[in-house]
C-alpha cells in the first residue's frame, strides 16, 4: 500500500495541473473582464442558491429531469465520501473515515446511493436516448455520453472494490449491495486482492479523468452553477442593462467587453435546452436558440478565435430574432442572463447603423415624431374626439391619475375602441384622470431593447420632463411595455414614479365597488399573459380578477403566467419583417387557444390586440375566436354620463 502513495501523488498532481491548464483561457478571460456589482445582499443571494440547488425548484418544473438530476446530485455528495477515502487513505497513509462511521452508517449510505446514482444515470440515458426531448437538439451528444460512461465506471468500480474487499474478509454487514457483488465474485472465483486493486485504480483513474475532462465540458456547471446563481441579477428584471460609463460606444463588439458575470454565464451553461424549448423565436423557425447563443459564445471564448463576435460568432439575424420575452431567463436553472447580451450586441449593430430597412423606418419615425407609425404628434389624442366627454389635459390642470396611453392605444385604429372603453370605465368609476396629449412620446421600452440606447434616452428624457411638469399622484399605462419602461427603466434617468397597469387600476376600482358591472353569463374564456405585464412585472392576477368580475369563467392555457408564450411583437420585433418565420408566434398561440374550445381570447396589451387579431384573420378563425381586451369584457349597468 505504501508503494502506491508516491504513484497516486504524482498522478493526482499531474491531473490537477492538467485541469488548471485546460481551464487557463476561461480563468484569464474572467480575470480580465470588466467589473460587475454583484456582491450586495449576501443573504438574499444565498437564499436563492439554497432554493435553486437545495430544493431544485426550477429543475423540478420538468419532473423527470428534475428527479433524475436530484438523484445524481445527492448521490454525488454521498459518494464523494468514497472519493475522500480513496484518495485520503493512499495520499496520507493512516487516513480513514472509520472513526466517524466509515465502516458502518457511511458505508450503508454509500452502498444505497451508489444504486440511486445508477438509477439516476439510467433515467438520464432513457431520457436522452429514448425520449429524446427536442430541447437537446444542438446540445453536445458526445459530452453527455462521455460523462455517462465515466459515472458508470466510477460507481461500478467502487462497488466492485467494496465487494472484493468483502471477499477478502472485510465486514459486509453494512454493505448489502457490495455483499451481493461479493457473492457474485465468489461464484466467479475471482481473486479478491488483485480485483480490489484493479477496481481501485479504475475508480481513481475515472475520477481523475472526470476532473481533467470537466473544464472542456458542460459539467463545469458542477463548480459554476452555484456561483452563477449566487451572483444572479437582483435588480428588477424589467430594467435593461445600463451602459457602463467607461464604455466608449453603447454596445459590445467583443466577448472581452462583457463583464465577468456575463462571461461566467457562458461557462455555466448546462446545455439543458430549457431556454430553447420556451423561445418563441426558435419555435417560429428563426435562427435563434438561446442555448446555442450561449454555447456559441462560450466556444468562441475557449477558442480565442479571431472571428468577430457580432455578425460572426453570433449572426445579425440571430440577434434581431429575439422578442425579449424573457422566457429563456425565467426557464434557466442556473440563472443565465441571455437578454443583456443580446441587447448589448444589438446596441453595437445600431451604433454602426446596421439595421434592417423596416427597423430603420420605425426608428427614424421615433426620432422625428416620437412614435413608430410616422404619425404627427398632434394626432396622438385624436381618439378622444369620439368620446362623449372631454379628457383633461394633465399639462394644464392637476389630476389624480396621469394616463400614459402609449403609441398603439393612441394611434392604431384596431385599439382605439379599447382605449375609449378604458376611458369610459375610468370616468364611470369617477377616476380623476388626464393625459399628456401631444407631449407624450413612445416610452422607449422596445427602442431600448432593440439596442437604440441613445434614442431611448432622448424619448425617456422627453417623457420624464413632460410628466414632471404635471401635478398627479399616480401614473397608469395602457401598454405593458410603457408600464415596464416607466416603472423600471426611467429610474436610472431620474424618473421615479408610482406606475400601474390599467388592469391593476380597474381591479382596484372593482374591489372598491366603484364599477357597477352587469356580469356576463359565465361563458368560458382564455387569457394571454403579456410578457411585459406578467413575467416582467408580476401582473398575473388583476386581469384574471377582472375577467371573473365581468362574469366570465377563465380557462387558462397550458402556457400561462410565468410560462406564457410571447405574441412575437416585443423588443422591436413588431418593426421587423417576418422573413424566415415558419409559424408566427401569435399563430402558434392562437392554435393553443383553439385547442381549449373557448370562443374568446382575452388580452391586456394593445400590441396583443393587434397581433392576435391579425393571427385569427390569417388562420381564418376570426369568427370562432374573438380577440377582446379585458376592458371590453366589462359591461356596466348604466352607460357613463358625460
Amino acid at each position: 500500500m505504501t508503494s502506491e502513495t508516491p504513484v497516486l501523488w504524482i498522478v493526482t498532481l499531474a491531473a490537477v495541473a492538467l485541469t488548471a491548464w485546460r481551464s487557463r483561457r476561461y480563468i484569464a478571460a474572467l480575470a480580465q473582464a470588466p467589473g460587475a456589482s454583484r456582491f450586495d445582499q449576501p443573504w438574499r443571494r444565498l437564499e436563492g442558491v439554497a432554493i435553486a440547488i437545495g430544493l431544485h425548484r426550477k429543475m423540478l418544473r420538468k419532473p423527470l429531469s428534475g428527479i433524475l438530476h436530484a438523484l445524481i446530485f445527492v448521490s454525488f455528495f454521498v459518494l464523494f465520501t468514497v472519493t475522500i477515502e480513496a484518495f485520503g487513505s493512499r495520499l496520507f497513509p493512516g487516513f480513514s473515515l472509520a472513526p466517524i462511521g466509515g465502516d458502518s452508517w457511511i458505508a450503508l449510505l454509500q452502498d444505497l446511493f451508489a444504486v440511486l446514482m445508477l438509477a439516476g444515470l439510467g433515467l438520464a440515458v432513457y431520457q436522452r436516448y429514448v425520449l429524446k426531448p427536442a430541447r437537446f437538439r444542438g446540445s453536445s451528444g458526445s459530452d453527455a455520453a462521455i460523462i455517462y460512461v465515466l459515472i458508470l465506471l466510477i460507481v461500478s468500480s467502487l462497488l466492485v472494490e467494496a465487494g472484493a474487499r468483502i471477499v477478502g474478509g472485510a465486514d459486509g454487514s453494512w454493505r448489502p449491495v457490495a455483499s451481493l457483488i461479493a457473492d457474485l465474485l465468489r461464484a466467479l472465483s475471482v481473486p479478491a486482492r488483485p480485483t480490489e486493486r484493479i477496481a481501485y485504480w479504475i475508480h481513481i483513474g475515472a475520477i481523475l479523468a472526470f476532473l481533467i475532462y470537466i473544464p472542456g465540458s458542460k459539467h463545469r456547471h458542477m463548480f459554476l452553477a452555484a456561483p452563477n446563481i449566487y451572483f444572479r441579477n437582483l435588480e428588477p428584471v424589467g430594467t435593461a442593462p445600463a451602459v457602463p460609463p467607461e464604455r466608449e460606444t453603447p454596445g459590445v463588439a467583443s466577448l472581452a467587453q462583457f463583464d465577468w458575470k456575463q462571461q461566467l454565464d457562458l461557462l455555466s451553461c448546462t446545455e439543458c435546452g430549457r431556454c430553447q424549448a420556451v423561445c418563441p423565436a426558435y419555435a417560429s423557425g428563426l435562427p435563434l436558440s438561446p442555448k446555442m447563443l450561449i454555447t456559441d459564445m462560450r466556444d468562441a471564448l475557449a477558442n480565442d478565435a479571431s472571428t468577430p463576435l457580432v455578425g460572426g460568432v453570433i449572426a445579425e439575424e440571430t440577434l434581431w430574432a429575439c422578442t425579449t420575452c424573457r422566457a429563456c431567463i425565467e426557464a434557466c436553472p442556473v440563472e443565465i442572463e441571455h437578454l443583456p447580451k443580446i441587447i448589448d450586441m444589438r446596441r453595437h449593430l445600431v451604433d454602426e447603423g446596421r439595421v434592417s430597412p423596416m427597423l430603420q423606418d420605425a426608428l427614424t419615425n421615433l426620432t422625428r415624431l416620437g412614435n413608430s407609425m410616422g404619425k404627427p404628434s398632434k394626432m396622438r389624442a385624436r381618439w378622444t374626439k369620439e368620446l362623449g366627454f372631454p379628457v383633461k389635459d394633465a399639462r394644464s390642470e392637476p389630476v389624480d391619475v396621469l394616463w400614459f396611453v402609449g403609441d398603439y392605444a393612441s394611434y392604431d385604429p384596431r385599439v382605439q375602441d379599447v382605449t375609449r372603453k378604458v376611458a369610459e370605465l375610468f370616468t364611470a368609476a369617477g377616476v380623476d384622470f388626464g393625459i399628456l396629449f401631444d407631449a407624450e412620446r413612445n416610452s422607449g421600452n422596445d427602442v431600448r431593447r432593440a439596442g437604440e440606447e441613445g434614442l431611448f434616452e432622448t424619448l425617456a428624457q422627453s417623457n420624464i420632463d413632460a410628466i414632471r411638469a404635471c401635478t398627479f399622484n399616480r401614473i397608469v399605462t395602457t401598454d405593458p411595455h410603457s408600464l415596464n419602461a416607466l416603472k423600471n427603466d426611467y429610474r436610472h434617468f431620474g424618473g421615479a414614479f408610482e406606475v400601474l397597469h390599467y388592469t391593476a387600476l380597474l381591479a382596484e376600482l372593482v374591489a372598491a365597488g366603484r364599477l357597477d358591472i352587469a356580469p356576463a353569463d359565465g361563458a368560458t374564456v382564455t387569457y394571454h399573459d403579456p410578457c411585459y405585464l406578467g413575467r416582467y412585472n408580476g401582473g398575473f392576477d388583476a386581469p384574471r380578477d377582472l375577467i371573473r368580475a365581468a362574469g366570465y369563467t377563465l380557462h387558462d392555457m397550458a402556457r400561462c403566467r410565468e410560462n406564457s408564450f410571447c405574441c412575437g411583437a416585443g423588443g422591436g420585433r413588431i418593426w421587423q419583417s417576418d422573413d424566415g418565420v415558419k409559424e408566427r408566434p401569435s399563430e402558434n398561440r392562437i392554435r393553443e387557444a383553439l385547442g381549449l374550445g373557448v370562443g374568446t381570447f382575452v388580452v391586456a396589451c394593445p400590441k396583443d390586440k393587434v397581433m392576435y387579431t391579425a393571427a385569427t384573420d390569417a388562420l381564418g378563425v376570426a369568427s370562432s375566436l374573438r380577440i377582446l381586451d379585458v376592458a371590453e369584457l366589462i359591461n356596466l349597468r348604466e352607460a357613463p354620463s358625460a
Binding site: 460606444t249 447603423g353 439595421v355 398632434k378 385604429p413 440606447e453 434616452e457
Partner: protein, 254 residues
C-alpha cells in the same frame, strides 16, 4: 474636395395641410417639418464621397427644424453645419434661395454643390440649374451614383428605359441627386446626442439678383372632381365600402 450639401425642410405630408387665409400658401403653424427625401440622398452621397475619396462636407439647412437635421448631418459625418436664415416662413423658393447657396459655395470655396434633384416645393428641380448658372459651373441633375476621379467627377444619371448614362464632369460643379449610391444610413441616437453638442453656424440670406417674375396667386388643396370617391377615414367602413365597390365592379366575389 469640399462639398456643400443643401438640406431643405418641407412640410410632413402625413400631417393635415391647410391653406392660409389668403389662399396663397400652406398654413405652416401646425405642421411638422421633415428633411426633403432627395436632400437626404444628397447628404448620403456627400458622405460616401468623403469616405471614398476624402472630402470636407459642409451641410447647409433651410427651414423649420434645420438645427435638428444639421445635428443629424454631423452625426452622419458632415464636418460643418450651417443654418441658412430664410426670409419669412413661407415655402422654400429655389429662385429665392439660389443666391444664398451660391454665396456660401463661394465663401466656403466649395468644389461641389450637392442637393436633392427636386423637393415638394420645387417639383421641377430648378435649384440646381439656378445655382449652376449663377456660379457659371457645369451642372447635372438626376444622379444615381457619383464617383470622384481626380479633379473630375463621374456622374451616373438614370434615363428612361432603364438606361444609365455616365458623365465625366469637371469640378467645380453642381449636381442634383436623385438617389445616393447606397440608401441613407441609420444614425444612432447616441451619435445624435453626441452631435447635438456641435456648434451650428449661421448664414444670412443673400439675394439671387433675379428679376421678379412669376408669383403664386392661388393654391388649391387636392379635392374631389367627380373622378374619385372619398371613402372616409374610418378603416372598417373603408374596408367594407371598398369590398362592396370591388364586388359591384366584378373584381371580387364577395
Amino acid at each position: 474636395m469640399k462639398i456643400l450639401v443643401v438640406l431643405r425642410m418641407i412640410p410632413d405630408s402625413a400631417g393635415e395641410l391647410e391653406l392660409t387665409s389668403d389662399g396663397r400658401g400652406i398654413d405652416r403653424e401646425w405642421l411638422d417639418f421633415q428633411l426633403n427625401d432627395f436632400d437626404d440622398h444628397a447628404l448620403e452621397e456627400a458622405i460616401l464621397l468623403k469616405e471614398a475619396a476624402g472630402a470636407t462636407v459642409v451641410a447647409v439647412a433651410i427651414g423649420e427644424g434645420s438645427n435638428r437635421v444639421l445635428q443629424m448631418a454631423v452625426a452622419r459625418g458632415a464636418d460643418e453645419a450651417i443654418a441658412l436664415e430664410a426670409e419669412g416662413d413661407g415655402m422654400i423658393d429655389s429662385r429665392a434661395i439660389a443666391g444664398s447657396i451660391v454665396a456660401l459655395a463661394r465663401s466656403k470655396a466649395a468644389d461641389l454643390v450637392l442637393c436633392g434633384v427636386q423637393s415638394t416645393e420645387d417639383l421641377f428641380g430648378q435649384l440646381v440649374p439656378y445655382a449652376g448658372a449663377l456660379l457659371s459651373w457645369p451642372h447635372v441633375s438626376g444622379s444615381s451614383r457619383l464617383g470622384a476621379d481626380g479633379s473630375a467627377l463621374r456622374v451616373t444619371q438614370e434615363r428612361g428605359g432603364g438606361i444609365a448614362a455616365t458623365y465625366e464632369i469637371a469640378l467645380p460643379a453642381v449636381i442634383g441627386v436623385q438617389t445616393a449610391s447606397k440608401a441613407p444610413r441609420y444614425v444612432s441616437g447616441s451619435k445624435l446626442r453626441e452631435a447635438s453638442k456641435t456648434a451650428i453656424g449661421k448664414a444670412p440670406s443673400e439675394p439671387a439678383g433675379f428679376e421678379r417674375s412669376a408669383e403664386i396667386v392661388a393654391l388649391r388643396l387636392p379635392g374631389q372632381r367627380g373622378t374619385g370617391e372619398n371613402l372616409g377615414d374610418n378603416p372598417e367602413n373603408v374596408a367594407e365600402r371598398l369590398a362592396n365597390i370591388l364586388a359591384a365592379k366584378g373584381f371580387a366575389g364577395v
